[in-house]
Subunit: 533 residues, 2 copies
Amino acid sequence: MPTGVFFRRVTRSRFTASIIIPYVQDTIECPGIVWPGADERMLDKLDLSKTTDEAKYEATLESLKERLGVLQRTLRDQKIPTVIVIEGWNAAGITMVVHEIVHALDPRGYTLHAIEKPTGEEKSHTFLWRFWLRTPPRGRIALFARSWYSRAISEEMQKHTWEKSLKSRAVQINNFEKKLTDDGTIILKFFLHISKEEQKQRLEERERNPLTAWLVTPSIWNIHRHYEDSLVLIDDFIQKTDTEIAPWIPIEATDRKYAILKVYSSIVKALEKKSEAAKENKARKVKAKEVVKPKKVTVKRHSHPEKVFTKDELQETLANLQIEMLELHYLLFKRKIPLMIVYEGWDAAGKGGNITRVTRFMNPLGYYVVPIAAPTPHEKEYHYLRRFIKHFPTGGDIAIFDRSWYGRVLVERVEKFCTEPEWQRAYGEINEMEEDFVYSSGGGIIKFWLEISKEEQLKRFQQRASDPMKIYKITEEDWRNREKWDTYDEAIDEMLARTSTDVAPWTVVESDDKWFARVKALRTVIATAQKLL
Amino acid sequence: MPTGVFFRRVTRSRFTASIIIPYVQDTIECPGIVWPGADERMLDKLDLSKTTDEAKYEATLESLKERLGVLQRTLRDQKIPTVIVIEGWNAAGITMVVHEIVHALDPRGYTLHAIEKPTGEEKSHTFLWRFWLRTPPRGRIALFARSWYSRAISEEMQKHTWEKSLKSRAVQINNFEKKLTDDGTIILKFFLHISKEEQKQRLEERERNPLTAWLVTPSIWNIHRHYEDSLVLIDDFIQKTDTEIAPWIPIEATDRKYAILKVYSSIVKALEKKSEAAKENKARKVKAKEVVKPKKVTVKRHSHPEKVFTKDELQETLANLQIEMLELHYLLFKRKIPLMIVYEGWDAAGKGGNITRVTRFMNPLGYYVVPIAAPTPHEKEYHYLRRFIKHFPTGGDIAIFDRSWYGRVLVERVEKFCTEPEWQRAYGEINEMEEDFVYSSGGGIIKFWLEISKEEQLKRFQQRASDPMKIYKITEEDWRNREKWDTYDEAIDEMLARTSTDVAPWTVVESDDKWFARVKALRTVIATAQKLL
């Protein structure tokens, strides 16, 4: 139930000095709401004395509930996912508003997420991890009673570097919301605003009621005392995250009925508008935008290594490297540094065998292989990145992806499983996601492209087809993919050029010679691990 | 990585006096293993000096790995799920054994679960909850490095009532494993046994190696010092959970190669046997067995209430009850008592409207509705109970199931989506599951059967069909179900008679009158909640 937001004790002057940064903001259209100017505080502009009369309330609410019920079914049929965020002061009425919303909804079509402190597992992941997992599937509504906003403020304010942290959280949140809206999700965010005096009265009222008195903890009173400080901070954070694609709607919440009505009508109007737009197929065209600039170099690919060792030499090298890997794995584990190893490559390039050799002396409790196949129908209901983020490693774990999110710009691009704007957008989305992982976790990402020549692939296909122990490894699809060699070739070039970043560079592994490839992969993992330690 | 098992300090004599209980055990067949007699300790009988020579090891292991690889694919095609549990002393080689097993497996077909302390969320659920969620889907292998066995011992030993708790854990575990094997899962359990002296040497060796020294914590030495006490306790627990369907295979683990070979050959032989049996369609017929005896009473169903109030009277009563519900909900939440409310009933009996009224004044952050539809393809890959257990409430939450696990003995029985032995078995399985929830959580289960007459159903169907706002609620399937009224009638009678237990009785709600039904449901919830407080 109600959670408290903890604020570090800071003086008002310090806030004013450091947090209020001139902020340029476009005027945006928001149903029925007049937006404050760029240099004004959003919340201070609200007229908290607004009320609604009883008769109007009853009549309007009933009709809005009916419209919301119908809208929920329409959005379901249109497969549009919706995120509704309810934030606000303690005792501002978050629970009450949520209560009224859910009562208009069919339970089969929404999920309510009450966001409190993260669990131990959630805490070990990146900040947005648990919110990614809570994004709604297509056609459903995710309703958040508090959200990444409360969490960002209450978690970051406990750090000494909170000013910097909060700024970077705002960027992360905007990127997160952009990914979702680009994917078709509607995001609506409400902040329930009440005055300090009003909050005081409500908390006292709760304290007088024996049933609710226990909810009013000393830390809630403590936050109340810092109301003015918090106001400045919250207002700034709201403005930083108030975007055209996911606007904030501040709500005057003194009069509960007025608040409910305004939230309801904003939701209904916004959803009706989006739903109409979708019907008329006027959905906003999403432009591909690279948020993290990739190095614009063409990555050279060779399938054959420059030097070929004898098998004995390589075997010995491999054995030595594997023992070194074992020791490094212990150190990564001990220091809780996570590592991701991504394997991509042509069919029959030897990903499986390479993984087996790289993990030969890893502690099996400290690594896991994530084999990626085509998304299941369930997975398709979500943003394409969600199923990968779910498996990201924490602590000292090593996650090895046997194929990965790069499927978006390879097979999905070539086979037209996604549209061109979608895969064009993916380069930036992927770079952002990888950067976020590396910066948040302090870990590393190694990306292998296993390159073989077209002739070598043919040889291996034929070998597999003639070996009864390996015939299961070769399918019709492999032959079909082979026919599209050139189309893949182009997609691979573009992928390597646009997603080789400083934090997560690609390593091309010359794999015509399997043993060389295994040694090179292991050497790369070892070198990266050493840099991380 | 390695986890410690904590043992309460107990004297040897106390163990001997209270834990070693005469235990009757059938001789069971286990590949290559001679079973100890009923009155002997299993582990003491092992010859820990057994070894394997190098040449034999290399040759045998290679061929076993190949066979395991093939078996994995066969079991996948046969859709047989497999659970392999590796338990043993600290430093007995669990990690090493797991390591060797996974290297023969295709990562697409197995999941390794390293079981350590439960997370906060897991701790708030019943003991077996997290293991239910980790059961393998059909055709896949779940490999457990430590399991519910280590957890039962280390968690229960910290309680004052550990003797009783451990006994009841053994029963729960046997029931859990029985449910899985009845559903076709193969379960293999290994215990790696070493002597106290051997353990001491290994721990000292680890301490000398700077890379592994940090793994040897004071608590691990503490457990080592209580080796003899632990031995008695573990041996007893192993014997209590050594069943024909899920036998223990003790492993002499002094010689690492011998241990690996024995584990490997046991797995390969057992799986080959099961796979052959499945091929010959000789899978053991499962007899329906009711573990929890239900009250053998016929539950009378009436669709019409004895007394009908005027709508005004009922509305007023309902309003009062809803306020009472609000207060009780706070108390349940405060005292962290979970509650499940199950709604079953004829189509159009008014489940949705009833749920809306019952939850009218509940805090939305403290309850959730779980709407149950036909299982998805993904859900079908698991034991049918898993998808419900996943949503069981913890703390002070109220989970409302709009349809439930009773689908097994209603729609799945009538439509023949499961076999007769399957639904016959389900009554006992369900009683056991509900009993486990109530006893473990201290919470309650309320089960509503919403009864309407066949005439009333027709009336409502026709109303829905003619109302443009409600027409989406009525489908062809509803009409088809209606034709099978009598078959359902019989299934409902049997369900009510066989699953109305003391811990989770059914309440028939006369629902021809919607308002009466809502009042009765709310009254029942309030009465149950009051008893729980």
